[in-house]
Symmetry: C2
Subunit: 349 residues, 2 copies
Amino acid sequence: MALDKMPRVDKKQSPTVVEVAKRAGCSIATVSRVLNRPETVAIDMRERILRVVDELGYVPNGSARALRSSRSRLIGLIVPTLDSAIFTRMLEGLESRLAPAGASLVYSATGYDLDREIRVVRNLIEKGVDGIVLVGSCHRKETLKLLREHKVRFAVTYALSEDASIPSMGFDNRSGGALAASYLADLGHKNLGIIAGVTRENDRASGRLEGFLAMAERRGIDRSSIVVVESPYEFSRGRAAAKIILNQNRNVTAIFCGSDVLAVGALRGCQDAGLRVPQDISMIGFDNLDIAEYLTPGLTTVDVPARLMGEQAANYFLADRNSLDIHSRVDLETRLIVRESTAPARDRQ
Amino acid sequence: MALDKMPRVDKKQSPTVVEVAKRAGCSIATVSRVLNRPETVAIDMRERILRVVDELGYVPNGSARALRSSRSRLIGLIVPTLDSAIFTRMLEGLESRLAPAGASLVYSATGYDLDREIRVVRNLIEKGVDGIVLVGSCHRKETLKLLREHKVRFAVTYALSEDASIPSMGFDNRSGGALAASYLADLGHKNLGIIAGVTRENDRASGRLEGFLAMAERRGIDRSSIVVVESPYEFSRGRAAAKIILNQNRNVTAIFCGSDVLAVGALRGCQDAGLRVPQDISMIGFDNLDIAEYLTPGLTTVDVPARLMGEQAANYFLADRNSLDIHSRVDLETRLIVRESTAPARDRQ
DNA sequence: CCGAGATATGAAAAGGTTTACATCGGAGCC
DNA sequence: GGCTCCGATGTAAACCTTTTCATATCTCGG
């Protein structure tokens, strides 16, 4: 059957501004004005038009609007993934601010692949987004070139870009790591394990690791007594990594994880190995996911202002040209949240 | 200072199809064809144009494309929230299928408010989305009217709509609840607690509850020995709810939670009360979130095919008119995942 | 009562693409 | 060799807004 030739049932199209104008007895310009800058239209005309709009169920065509005004009210969000719950809080923060302003969020994932990020950015530019939220300040040159050439507003989160010209609303991953190291040193731990995220092309993961290591050194902990393992942010990987560390150095009394996701897995891994947390081994995470408080034991972790970053990013994209620079750089703080998964180092065996 | 009068630096505009055509020495129609149906253009011309596209860094204007073709390649996703991690897996499934097809996901949250859902739908229609993914089959009349009048393709997830004309890719929440009840009955539990989600205007929460209750009755469990509490899907609420149940009936030997999020909180609540899970009390959740496996004890739960629903929804929206009905209804299964949080009922005290 | 200025509305162009239709060559057939 | 038909390309209209500029009406001071 020739499906192409099927009768078009679309006879009754969605009403346009023309239809509204006709019924209201005015020009389309006036209708447009009522919708965009109501105060410029006489009160009675305004009300008449609004009534017609309502009657007809008229909804403006966003594509046409975007084409003409070159503003789509779409903000792109590019994150590695949402699977691990790390970025959802930022997303919620962003959306909560965007929605009241009539803007929407276009979500894209890269799977921690910077080349894929290029394609994703191109796709978002094609969709005409007014701005793009990026995670971290490590990107391909091509990504930035694309962004600049097309004059798309963008910002970096979860990190503070060294390049001051790049807007960022984030925090210093290094000092977050340092916070954890410092606390473990306070507790007297000397033999440490670290389960870092994959540091390659990931400034957050590497920043946390470096910050931790630097502070550990400052506190007199011997680098040779620190075991470092890298693994992707997955529960199962954290579990496996804990076992590797335990095998490598049975004297480890504390493990720092580059993410709570890894910490959850590692917690389980330690328990699998018959170790009690925190009596036998201390565990400290990073992110302060909601779940951290509800684990047993509650997870000591470094809090990341995820939601706040989302909100601040939204502020930046919603800002008009004049107040842009005010919002273009927001330095936020990490802080240590002490719960039950950490304790003073046990005596050496 | 008159900021409005600032010099426009936008002299160098992004190149358009006209520019490409000029450089390639052809008409704009041919350029468009190369981009959309390359096989209709001679190979040498095609390559020449592609080269120019690359040189210029030309990116098509999505708004213009959407306006003319009335296809935006945008799919809207409306969920209650992403905070609780319940819906992120579906989102990832959806996005993973959409992205390769050049489509993007527009995310909106309702906060479990059906009136807000109406506004969100209107907003998405205005953005010109090609389709909308909804959660559950409980919606305001106005929402559906909007969707129908504007001929926006839409589908329901996390439930199977009774109205067969509404496409849905979901599962039967009642049988999911029944699964849990049946298993607890098998284990000999007679005094039960239920922490359901808020059932008002939520067919998933109420379905799970009803399904559980119905099966419990069938298995001879006395309704009067079942304590039911409703609470929003938050860890803290689950914890509080567990305490309420324990206070109300100290003989409860098992608790069914309408969501893993509640179960996590309840687990903690029981431990707070000095109860061991599963020796003193069994706990069973719903959703099979990734975290469930990593709790201590591992959480017995009802698995929901979240990712699959997202993928199937994507298939539906990506399908062309011909194969639409094939994809328009996908019944998926829930299944019980037994872990360590459940055990045979302890003897009555 | 006239003219200036403010206010409200209309006419028309512009924004960048897709696509129906027209055109132009060339291949295949009798 | 002329005719048909097909494939490749071009022309121009259409998609629906926003926005600039012009016009018309009204207010108010002199």
